[in-house]
Amino acid sequence: MQIIAKNLSFTYGKQTKAVSVKALNNVNLTIEEGDFFGIIGHTGSGKSTFVQHLNGLIRVNGKEGELRVGEFDLADKKCDLKTLRSKVGMVFQYPEYQLFAETVFEDVAFGLKSFNKDISQSEIELRVAEAITTVGLNYQRIKDKSPFELSGGQKRRVAIAGVIVSRPEVLVLDEPAAGLDPVGKREFLNLLKRLHSSFVKTIIIVSHDMNIISEYCNKVAVFNRGEIALVGTPQEVFADQNKIKELGLEFPLTARLKLALKNKGVEVGGDLTVEGFVTALSKLKEEGKL
């Protein structure tokens, strides 16, 4: 599903008027099917507000722009939100805080049951087992446990299983790696990569961690005060050094290394992934330029 936002604006507290905050201002953005799309920006720049539009948690006001997600027109009041939400999965920060059921099985099945009321028990079992296995947990061992007796990392996996159980085509993650240790973070991102090569076609990730963005995303949008300041590949976005600094952002490690090397007179090509960086560097060595 292709996602197209046109002149999208949003203001919080419009009805109450006491304090209204313009969180989005004329956002134009296209996310293609197949993208691993990164969204970055200073805190309060409107990233969460934007992604919550994608599955209709925040509704588009007809006069405040257009938003299309595949065949769904989000500005349309009659938009079938339930079907949309089964196709656009959303994982929030600390997703483990959404767990509620008595068993892991019940919790993961919750989404499935709410999306299709007349799904058969055997189908549920199949899909729940698939989801739990996908997130790297042992289905048989964990399914009858209470979600509250699991470790933090396991909880988070269960919560994510509860989102991907409906096989969404688009998976939106709002700062999903917060609070994970480095190993947990890497495992988590590898999970995303695996998902991206299965039924999940598009991944949209909001993150403050530039290394994640440069390593995994093929495209990045930078938000600033509710507007889009930059869009492009990580390479293109982080090439504009002054702008990035102006926007209050960090550089990924690879970009910093490249910059430092450049100051020493060594131009390293390639993209901003660690592998791309290493390949470019070893090529330089082979050519005898190092």
Binding site: G13, M90, F100, F110
Partner: protein, 273 residues
């Protein structure tokens, strides 16, 4: 969800905002007593109270509409008590031949509605001009005398301010959990009452869990800062009384005297509805 902002504090720098919270609470109590003591059908007394409310609102620089909005919350109660009076007050003469609504019933329906509305208007000015924290502090000061009977005033006030402090957090958390469950297909807006109540389980349980977590964290944070109850504890914001409070008290005394005068010096008639 977000529209339900707790309390309705309207920040400003006015005379009324700067007054001492305890004094403001006392004034509101005096005002409410004045409203209740207005003698049956002596609408002039209400006129005086209304004038008081309007003056205070103007001085406080709070939009009148904001004050009026507070009535929305109790509109059902007002209509209910008015209807009760209208249909069940049998004294007086019927308004029309054979009708069951009497002139006295109509009058008392209006009287009761006005009385309740005035009380709510007065109380809402207090919450509009006093932040919840100031209110809690104000109540604490007023409760000090209870220390004589070993009532744990400080702890009580602490509970109150912690509760107030956590309301926005809880609302934010609720909002977040609702969104997370909606994203998983939860449907809170359709089905019968029973279904809707059941739909709340996925929200209430995580909310409960997170409240316990917050409580634990807060307790740890307080322990870590060596919080040890009320003994030898000083206040960050001292409760001071200024000339503003004196003026407020004098005007309020004037209000009470005026109302009592209207009642023909009939000091305290049947108080409640």
């Amino acid at each position: 969800m977000r529209e339900v902002t707790f309390g309705q504090y309207f920040p400003s720098n006015s005379f009324v905002h700067k007054m001492n919270a305890s004094i403001k609470i006392l004034i509101v109590i005096a005002y409410i007593v004045a409203v209740f003591s207005v003698k049956q059908f002596h609408f002039l007394g209400f006129g005086i109270c209304l004038a008081f409310v309007i003056t205070v609102t103007a001085v406080a620089k709070v939009p009148f509409l904001k004050v009026l909005k507070s009535l929305k919350a109790i509109i059902f109660f007002i209509v209910f008590s008015a209807v009760l009076q209208l249909f069940f007050n049998k004294s007086g003469t019927p308004l029309w031949e054979g009708g069951f609504i009497t002139d006295e019933g109509l009058k008392s329906a209006i009287f009761v509605s006005v009385k309740v509305s005035l009380v709510v208007l007065g109380a809402s000015i207090l919450t509009l001009t006093t932040s919840p924290i100031e209110l809690a502090d104000g109540i604490e000061v007023l409760l000090y005398p209870l220390k004589i009977v070993r009532f744990p005033v400080h702890e009580f006030a602490l509970i109150m301010s912690i509760a107030l402090r956590f309301i926005p957090t809880l609302m934010e958390e609720t909002d977040r959990i609702i969104k997370a469950q909606k994203a998983r297909g939860a449907d809170f807006d359709s089905g019968n009452l029973f279904k809707r109540a059941k739909a709340l389980i996925p929200v209430l349980i995580p909310l409960l869990v997170s409240s316990f977590r917050s409580a634990d964290e807060l307790a740890d944070a307080m322990d870590a800062r060596c919080y040890a109850g009320s003994k030898n504890r000083t206040k960050f914001k001292k409760s001071v009384i200024t000339w503003r409070d004196l003026i407020g008290l004098i005007i309020t005394a004037g209000l009470v005297v005026a109302v009592v005068y209207c009642n023909g010096f009939y000091i305290f008639p049947a108080v409640f509805l």
